[in-house]
Point group: C2
Chain length 295, copies 2
């Protein structure tokens, strides 16, 4: 079975759009996302364009902050702080990677946690451990949405997370361990010596390594659920672009066979932008003193 | 083998004392810990007394803030904010549990992260995931110190953490997953259905459940390292107090045999206060713009 990201991402965006309309009726303004883009990295330009498009789909305003490649640290921090103070801005997204002379960690740490719709600040990461209300980073949030959408239970299940990145592996491990999810999670990484042991035992495998076909179907249970977060470019002469996109997981049957697998492309990747929209709406509501459910 | 907490805790306190002296020479003041104690819970009174005694041993000033049991939320928050602003205070410890009418989560969230020597705020919890510099909560920090003191390698090892509390299980799992530790961690809890599977495979087991003898030696590898964080009172007619202290781990040979075990009492418990002293020193140094290593 293939766990496509198309239907769940559309369903989430539809839901956000309906709620954004309610928000606008209630507060006479739309939720607003500030998109900070420094420089002109072509891949980033595509991502930024997709985010703005999703805003339009979801009835969310976007405030475009385009900055020069050579913007100084002080100017960029000043800009972020201005957005922190800006009453009409609900969410701030700083598109990564930043130009090389800037320290991403430092810049991200300047975003007010209540506007940090990427969920990258230490405060919001900490909320994943304390189980307090915060903003959850978009890809992990999208993974949970996919699991729920396809009715995949996590409570009491064994989950193997492959990869310990700050934006996927660690937050999804923390989220799945929470009382609302109750999974037993093992976090494997490049220094793990016996990943096979954990993979073979896992009901759900989350691949977030960033290496094409690093995990194969022989390594997992025959009926495992595999969430593939990897989006890797591999040379492919048959494509006009010269490359094809591959996930971290390699399986033989196109439909996954007994496995339940998110395809790449068309899987988790689609959820990330939809989650960003939901985070902007959540942030807008909280800034007005309510939760989304109260709209 | 028994991994006593006595020698490592004394070694850590000795080191903090020597560095506190250097701090005082350099900055003409001692590091200072504010100890906020609301009410008169007798167990808390013992803990508070031990912390003050450790301060004296380590050449750290303590500022004692004793508050009435019925202090209002607003007054207590006001007090914490006053300590946040107080230039001479480096660390703030709010003794838990707080009287029942107060929301602990809310009060803790008022402590400035740079003075949060218990490492309980969301910011400092988030640093465990981002691997940025923060203040690490005392018991997890003490566990790492014990492992290092006895030369127990964590890189590439399989570690099973039993218990997902905010103050022990989750932070120690996050710490051991960091690049500086490189362990492969499984976090088990009350909803885990096959903890035996992970226990039997673990090179190191960390018991932080809070249930006497919940894990037994039959459940772990014969040469496992077991860090026992539990301190449980069990009825014992032979004791004057009517109870004895037991850990979460049950083993038959007094010296642990082939196992390496932290005893209860006299194990991890001793490390917690020593770690608090170190955190106060770290916080004092950072507030003066240096790291402890630069003293």
């Amino acid at each position: 079975m293939l766990l496509s990201g198309k239907e769940p991402s559309q369903s989430l965006k539809d839901s956000v759009r309906e709620k954004s309309k309610l928000f606008e009726q209630k507060f006479s303004r739309k939720p607003c996302l500030a998109v900070v883009f420094a420089g002109n990295n072509p891949a980033s330009a595509v991502y930024v364009r997709n985010k703005k498009k999703a805003c339009e789909e979801c009835q969310i305003d976007h405030l475009d902050i385009n900055l020069e490649e050579d913007i100084s640290r002080e100017e960029l921090i000043g800009k972020v702080e201005e957005l922190n103070r800006d009453e009409k801005v609900d969410g701030i997204l700083v598109q990564l990677p930043l130009p090389k002379h800037l320290n991403e960690t430092e810049i991200i740490s300047c975003i007010a946690p209540e506007k940090d719709v990427d969920g990258f600040t230490n405060y919001n990461l900490g909320c994943l451990l304390s189980e307090e209300k915060g903003l959850v980073s978009c890809t992990p949030k999208g993974i949970l949405y996919i699991l729920d959408y396809y009715g995949i239970e996590t409570s009491g299940k064994n989950i193997c997370v492959m990869g310990r990145s700050r934006i996927v592996g660690k937050p999804i491990a923390a989220l799945l361990t929470q009382k609302s999810r109750n999974a037993t999670v093992t976090l494997c990484h490049s220094k793990t010596e016996n990943a096979e042991f954990y993979l073979k035992n896992a009901d759900i495998v989350i691949c977030a390594i960033g290496k094409a076909h690093a995990v194969t179907e022989e390594m997992v249970k025959e009926d495992a659920v595999v969430i593939d977060v990897g989006i890797n470019r591999v040379p492919d002469a048959s494509k006009k672009s010269g490359y094809a996109l591959q996930g971290d997981f390699c399986y033989s049957r196109e439909d996954g066979g007994k496995l339940s697998v998110t395809p790449v492309p068309g899987g988790v990747g689609l959820m990330t932008v939809a989650s960003l929209m939901e985070n902007t709406l959540i942030s807008a509501c909280r800034r007005m003193g309510i939760e989304v459910e109260e709209l």
